[in-house]
Symmetry: C2
Subunit: 673 residues, 2 copies
């Protein structure tokens, strides 16, 4: 790599790119932590992207029709912080960069969307960015079809590294993007041949260009340090009718003594190395100082898109009031006023008709009334449409010949689906939900965690939520997955007991602006348990008294989902023997925990024996309600699973694992002594 000739050939470009490189070196040195090599390697690509292609306005980084830029290789966060500072984003004054990776700053270790307007996504867990970008591109296609190109018409650019491409989720993303011909998606691969452990070839020899081409992408190559070549490749990629992959040949930690080595991946903090590198760059300024003409040139780039943004605003203002309101509502994640009405009507009807349906079917019934009044929903399933009951009649299928379709066949790609839904939710304007079996929460976990961390209100439709799945056996029977989701911060886990609770859960999930929801739904049909109509959303309280004791209250049965039916029947049996028994339905532990002490005390008073019933492990949050909240050790029990399930019809499994009315009654009596 001949730095001297790069400097000589493109002096203005060189300085702009070096501003990124030196800010990176300075910030990483100040933090004594971070990743220097990637921003140093990709500075040229990023400079050309921002200068010539990316449609953005630093003064309004969140205007709706901006191009999206996603740094999938999130460890190179100083690349994006440098770009935001240089282009004049008000949230990134130089002090932010000086406080890189410190408490309370916006310059977190990895980019975090909830800290700054200009950061589209949270990245760092590798592969997530490229997979979310597919969601952004789906959202763009869908919204362009709905609103017209005058309102939505933009690209999604991704910088991805070898780590992103080695992670399996990238294959799911690539396949999905290729299938849907997402031509506005452009992935720039930081092809530097280096990972943390050494050369990429230590662990992978995949021909990435051939791999992307195999899934229907157009592929391009460029010298990632030659601005003219980068510009050519980006121009060609934008002209492609397919998603575009640009292999940018780069040198990690360019110009430093750590160039082209795995050392260069990490934090370059040695003072001499930094001084030598800056000397090689011809950069003779103090740390964090950017020469005025360079900063001005960057700020001109930052304001380059202001005119385009204003033109868009004029076009938007020309829309009818109702269209503007709809757009604003959908982009601000407000549920429509009609949602409450259709849910209320559905609940009323449910009480009247008392259908004995699986909650997965109940979920479909709810979606049938919700989807028509909430046109921002975008449904889907990871190849279990008929089992997840996620597709309602009116949706239409999203594909290249029907971009208005509101249902995505995600394929056998739980992880890719979850990541795409994150991207769809973060893009704005749409509300994604998608289904798979509850057990395969496992596959989607990295993206589900990001939903929670990123405040993305994705709805996960997780059917077949227990051994009630039956014959498919333990590989498909979740026992620890309620615990997994409940242990995750900022996640609502709903396990509704019947159609009424399912409707209530959907109302909460679809009204959420910053919290994802997991709907744990039964395969098997369930007896309706809500027998009287109330317009109030009882699920919103997390738990409530479903049926109270008539005799003196000696027992409280607390159950969720499919086990509420068991509790109701056990109560009948106990009451028949004169033992007063309350049934508490607890469709959402997180929401119950948020209620005030007085309410919780009302639902779970001290005194009676308590039994929790859930066909899952007790570690899923049960001890708090059984031992805590005025419970007493020795006067409580849990009826659920202690190990993996087995293959057999559901009824047999419930009997064998002792999750039955009889076991509940016997346990209650034993505890009463």
């Amino acid at each position: 790599m001949d730095i001297a000739s790069l400097r000589a050939q493109h002096p203005d470009h060189w300085k702009k790119a070096c501003a990124i490189r030196t800010l990176t070196l300075d910030a990483v040195a100040a933090a004594n932590s971070g990743h220097s090599g990637m921003p140093m390697g990709m500075a040229d690509v990023a400079t050309v992207l921002y200068e010539k292609h990316l449609n953005f306005d630093a003064s309004q980084p969140d205007w709706p029709n901006r191009d999206r830029f996603i740094l999938s290789a999130g460890h190179g966060s100083m690349l994006i912080y440098s770009l935001l500072h240089l282009t004049g984003d008000a949230e990134f004054p130089i002090e932010q960069l000086k406080n890189f990776r410190q408490w309370g700053g916006k310059t977190a270790g990895h980019p975090e969307n909830f800290l700054a307007k200009a950061i589209e996504t949270t990245t760092g867990p590798l592969g997530q960015g490229i997979a979310m970008a597919v969601g952004f591109a789906i959202a763009e296609e869908s919204l362009r079809a709905r609103w017209g190109a005058k309102i939505i018409d933009h690209h999604t650019y991704v910088i991805a590294g070898d780590g992103c491409l080695m992670e399996g989720v990238s294959q799911e993303a690539i396949g999905l993007a290729g299938r849907h011909e997402l031509s506005r998606l452009i992935v720039m691969w930081d092809n530097n041949g280096i990972t943390i452990d050494g050369k990429v070839s230590l662990s992978d020899r995949t021909d990435q260009i051939a791999r992307f081409a195999a899934s229907g992408w157009d592929t391009f190559e460029c010298d990632g340090h030659d601005p003219a070549d980068i510009d050519r490749a980006l121009t060609e990629a934008k002209a492609s009718a397919k998603p575009a992959f640009i292999a940018c040949k780069t040198h990690i930690a360019l110009g430093s003594s750590a160039q082209d080595t795995s050392k260069g991946h990490g934090a370059l903090t040695d003072a001499k190395l930094i001084a030598d590198t800056k000397a090689a760059y011809g950069w003779d300024y103090p740390a964090f100082e950017i020469p005025k003409e360079v900063k001005s040139a960057w700020e001109a780039i930052g304001s380059r898109g202001a005119e385009t943004r204003k033109e868009w605003e004029a076009r938007f203002a020309a829309l009818s009031d109702s269209k503007q309101q709809l757009f604003q509502r959908q982009f601000s994640c407000e549920a429509p006023a009609k949602l409450a009405a259709v849910i209320r009507a559905m609940k009323k009807q449910a009480v009247e008709t008392a259908p004995k349906v699986a909650t997965r079917r109940a979920s479909e019934m709810v979606l049938e009334v919700v989807n028509p009044v909430m046109t921002e929903t975008l449904g889907g399933s990871a190849d279990l449409t008929g089992s997840n009951n996620t597709k309602t009649a009116d949706l239409g299928v999203f594909d290249p010949i029907n971009r208005k379709g509101r249902y995505v066949y995600y394929g056998i790609r739980e992880h890719g689906m979850a990541a795409a839904m994150n991207g769809i939710a973060l893009h704005g304007g749409l509300r994604p939900y998608g289904g798979t079996f509850m057990c395969f929460t496992d596959y989607a976990r990295p993206a589900m965690r990001l939903s929670a961390l990123m405040h993305a209100p994705v709805v996960y439709v997780m059917t077949h939520d227990s051994i009630g799945l039956g014959e498919d056996g333990p590989t498909h029977q979740p026992v620890e997955h309620l615990a997994i989701s409940r242990a995750t911060p900022n996640t609502m886990v709903f396990r509704p007991a019947d159609l009424v609770e399912t409707a209530e859960a959907w109302e909460i999930a679809l009204s959420s602006k910053a919290t994802p929801s997991v709907m744990a739904l039964s395969r098997q049909n369930l007896m309706p348990v809500r027998k009287t109509h109330t317009s109030k959303n009882l699920t919103a309280q997390g738990a409530y008294v479903l049926e109270d004791a008539t005799a003196k209250r000696q027992v409280i049965l607390i159950a969720t989902g499919s086990e509420v039916e068991i509790a109701v029947k056990a109560r009948e049996a106990l009451e028949a023997e004169g033992i007063g028994c309350r049934v508490v339905s607890m469709p959402c532990m997180e929401l119950f925990a948020q209620q005030d002490e007085a309410y919780r005390r009302k639902v779970l008073p001290a005194g009676p024996v308590r039994i929790g019933i859930e066909a899952a492990v007790r570690l899923g949050g049960w001890d708090r309600w059984l031992l805590g909240e005025r419970g007493r050790e020795g006067k409580e029990a849990f009826i659920g699973m202690t190990g993996f399930g087995a293959s057999a019809p559901a009824e047999r499994l419930y009997a064998e694992f002792g999750i039955t009315v009889e076991a509940t009654v016997a346990k209650a009596k034993a505890l009463l002594g």
Copy 2:
């Protein structure tokens, strides 16, 4: 598909394959559940594989040098059950097939390795089989290099469907196999063009042949219903010097009215459909009846490999006694006698030298003494070798030019690594361990769950186990991951506090025959807490009294890992004020829960205030020890995390999130009132 000509051209083959097809139809009908189409579609491929290629002996299905057959498309479990019954495997009499998917049988919904000797792996969660197969192939290469081709020399065959290939983990597996030139790995793709939601093309248009070729595989194609063509392709694949991919063009649910449709994927139970299909097959026998000549032909296949097996036994018997013993020990997963000795010595030395090291470094120190005496270990990391401290000096790197190398650079493939380790463990003869960051447990989850379900004693080295990771921020800081692993049945989660506990944890993990272990290890240096040597493995009790109160015992602090140091210091402060305080170190909740009540009571007596300290969420099992086990609500507290972490140096994070000595002391005093 012209069934008539297939029948006419290959009459003997046809009958054998139809035995699989009709047993599948009959078993699925009897169970009223299952997947008919895949075994019907792949019966020809499986028949040729078993008849002409697979080296096995039905009378001794677990002899060590057999070829491994892995049904990655595990939903087609009737394929393998039919094959096992037909070839005369004693564990699969016809009654087993008649009781397909019923309680207590070996014919579970999906194949389960722990139910029958001939079933190599548990499959069903898609993509796992192909990814485990890479581990089997790694094990074979490694063991062939160690033991010579006279002792280990076999192939690993996989049947994979579109679902397996769409799952991202398959890409990780493909890349790893291609890099390592695993020429004994042969994947047969059931290329039927159908998924549950409809045609594969609904969600994917990937050119699979090009994709595998891009990662260094040799690729082949065949007509999956033409036995001669299948035989040719398998013969060519075996001759390849690379891993081989055979695209077998097949028709799902061949010969039925559901052929080539997504309906054909599921349970074909309609009596007329079954009758019509059998008629088309020219199969005129009652359900579950196999004509004698067909059964005899299959049994001949089943005994075809007996001679080979006996020849192997003779070669094995010619090995020296010590070699035979070593082989037997390693294949039966027995730890060597020396393990206890080196652990004891390390513990003694640790107490003497009291090194202040991170437990990830402690783990490396343990491996440095263990790896030389336990040569069956096969280490690795998902591209975090230097951070996970998984590579010790003497291991050497496993690759095509050094098959004896005992360290695998798995690349940025946590999921693929975990699945490969499952395969390595199930192959037998090796004991895999592999590292990544604890937070990326998420990526590996589906395979980690299978480790537990399959009784595979894999060791997961999960470093950077809390906010102690510091500046990388919340995307890299686990808070719910201890809960996730603890909620998983048959999993030991170790969070050692210092070098002594780390050594003890490794001793337990490496002695385990049927339970995987998760080692949660700190990034940051920790103060040694075990100050006196005892040869007894205290970690094996799960929790123990580390330091007891000198004054009257009013407080019990229970802590794990990096927070034990906080507990020890808080105790000092409390004792200095005359408040008697016990510190309980709890490196493994699962093992403590297994202790008898008397021991648990001794460690956690009733009376004192209890405070749990762990930089993670309380839901990770804490309520049992704080509220239960003689605890009292209102006299307990938990000091840990309630949400995601943040980016900052570790000390700052501990202070900001209130996980400190001061907070502990203050809480104890407040609870004492």
